[in-house]
């Protein structure tokens, strides 16, 4: 799998994207201006390019001219939420666009969907014999399909995308169910139990004291 190229002149944003993608298991490279990006595009091979439109020197639109011949999928990052700008970006051959400010998980979902559409391998999440296709919402354990409820599925994807990281339980609840968890509610714990049972991950999904849950990294 080739790395993902992040082109953004704002170092904080570029690093934020890198952190998010790294956690999900993607390799990344950063270009902080148009010239560097053009050089990298010419010499390297990438599965996906995340491209900021407002760049000093060579603009994102101009970079599209370099990228188009290579056939590499592109997601525009833009602060311009205006319809005309979005249409222009898409018309120039971008596969998707993300309007700043964005949430890391939204970015991840968009990246996965574009990679899948481009047939570049991305999108499938694996751990301990469990294979998840987030776009098709399909789960297999050792090759056999497993039926999960929508909430269970979302919870599993959340854990898989943050493998090796302890997740706070209130944020987990918010991500999967939306809104705040009622005090004393056992909903999250109940779903974790069922996931452990259905997928045989009893010892892999760990309870972290005072924090939440953690899916171990496959060694």
């Amino acid at each position: 799998m080739n790395p993902i190229l992040i082109v953004d002149d704002e170092r904080p944003i570029a690093e934020l994207i890198e952190l998010t993608l790294l956690q999900a298991g993607y390799r990344c490279e950063i270009a902080l201006d148009g010239e560097t990006a053009a050089d990298k595009i010419e010499t390297g091979r990438y599965d996906l390019i995340l491209l900021d439109i407002m760049l000093p020197g060579v603009s994102g639109y101009e970079l599209m001219e370099y990228i188009r011949p290579t056939g590499t999928p592109v997601i525009f990052l833009t602060a311009k939420g205006m319809l005309a700008d979005r249409v222009r970006g898409l018309r120039m051959g971008a596969d998707d666009y993300i309007v700043k400010p964005f949430e890391p998980l939204e970015l991840l979902a968009r990246v996965e969907s574009v990679l899948r559409r481009a047939g570049r391998g991305g999108g499938l999440l694996r751990a301990f014999g469990v294979v998840v296709d987030p776009a098709a919402r399909r789960v297999e354990k050792d090759g056999a399909p497993v039926a999960l409820t929508p909430r269970e599925f979302d919870l599993l994807v959340l854990l898989l995308r943050n493998q090796g990281i302890a997740l706070y339980r209130d944020v987990m609840y918010e991500r999967v169910w939306g809104g705040e968890e009622e005090a004393g509610s056992r909903t999250l714990d109940l779903h974790i139990q069922r996931l452990r049972k259905k997928l045989g991950l009893a010892d892999k999904i760990k309870t972290v004291y005072k924090i939440g849950y953690l899916l171990e990294v496959e060694t």
Binding site: D9, E10, P12, I13, E15, L16, L19, T20, L32, D33, M54, P56, A79, K80, G81, M82, K100, P101, F102, E103, P104, N162, I165, A166, L167, Y168, V171, M172, R175, V208, I211
Partner: protein
Amino acid sequence: MKLAAKLTLVILLLLALLLNLGAAWLIGSGFSAQLQAAAQQNVAVHRAECYQLQKAMIETPNLETQPPLVVLYGQQRTAQAGVGLAILSVERAFLYSGTGMENGWQPVLRALDAGEDGMTYAQEGAKVWQLFASPVQWQGRTLWLVSSCDVSSVFQLRNQQLAGFARLELIAFAGVALAVWAVSRRLTRPLKALEESARAIAAGSYDRRTGMTGADEVASLAASFDAMAEAVEQRANQLDLAVHQREDFVSAFTHELKTPMTSMLGYADLMRSAEVKPEVRQRAANYIYHETKRLESLSAKLMTFMALDPEHKTLELRPVALAALAERTARALPAEYPVRLCWEGFEAGRVLGDEDLLTSLLENLINNGMRAEPKDGRISITAHRKNGQVEITVRDRGRGIPQKELERITEPFYMVDKSRARAQNGSGFGLALCARIARLHGTRLEFESQPGEGTTVRFTLKEAGE
């Protein structure tokens, strides 16, 4: 109805009225003169015939009682004189009738009624006669003589003239109609062009002009129209420009706002959702802190910028001593400033202005010069008095600004080199602010720059009286 048609119709009506009146008068007066002349001649002929009849009555004592003789006489005279005659007895009995009319007795009796000096007309088909009747007497004997003179030719002539005139009139009508139509078409063609232009402009092509030249009223209307279109176009362009500038501003502002927000949101989300490594946590917190600072400074600058909108604010200009201005500006800059400031001409003199704003203006310009990293490590600020004005110049020998960027540098958020400006803590707002301050002082910033050579900024202030 079209103007051309209206014009044609009116002119034709007028023409018909005049022509017909004129022709009626002309032909009518000619005709009556001829008829009169004929009548005079015919009266003379009639008198002569009366005399002839009297002579015959003298020669033939019983003429009136011998009809065959009367008929003989009548036939003789008719053949000789070439006029139609009728001879009647006192009792109005026809003794001879040779009037040339087919049905002559009635007109003859009417002529008798008209009396001795009367003239009557008789008509049969196209023929017209003048009839004269007189009693011819000799020693108590009386005969009525009626002469009928053919005047058809006079009437014929009149009818010919009328027919000729009608033909002439028809031709004149056709000619005039054609001419008027053509002329009015010619006159209204520029109006049509004008109308088309107006339509085009109404449809949005503000650059359309009639382009008509000439000295007549339509041309001057076209000229006024073009002038109006020019004004409309300028206004439309102004509005376009204003909209464009506002869009640019909003777009740049959105970018400046959303960029720090993206970082803040993203890093905060990262930190709150999972246990991250201490170094990542430290870096994320750092980013959040700096981006928040950046947002705060942006909002402060924006507030100042908005408050200084020249359209809604006028300054109360007060005398400001140049020396005080220099001192305050120097104090506003950090103590350990990387470049040396060379003040010149600031020892004496006062200008009209707002001290706070002028300080801020100089401070911004000096900071810009410092960011250009002057080769000689200094910035010279010069005040030069002339003609009641003070010209202030800030000059650096730094990086310079490319020519094509010069006109845009006072636009809000515009940065010649964005990443360098960011690194130097620039917001892209400083010069926009400076330009506003200058405008509020009734002056404008003039830039001169040469890449690699340095930049000079110049503005003039009014000198305050002592």
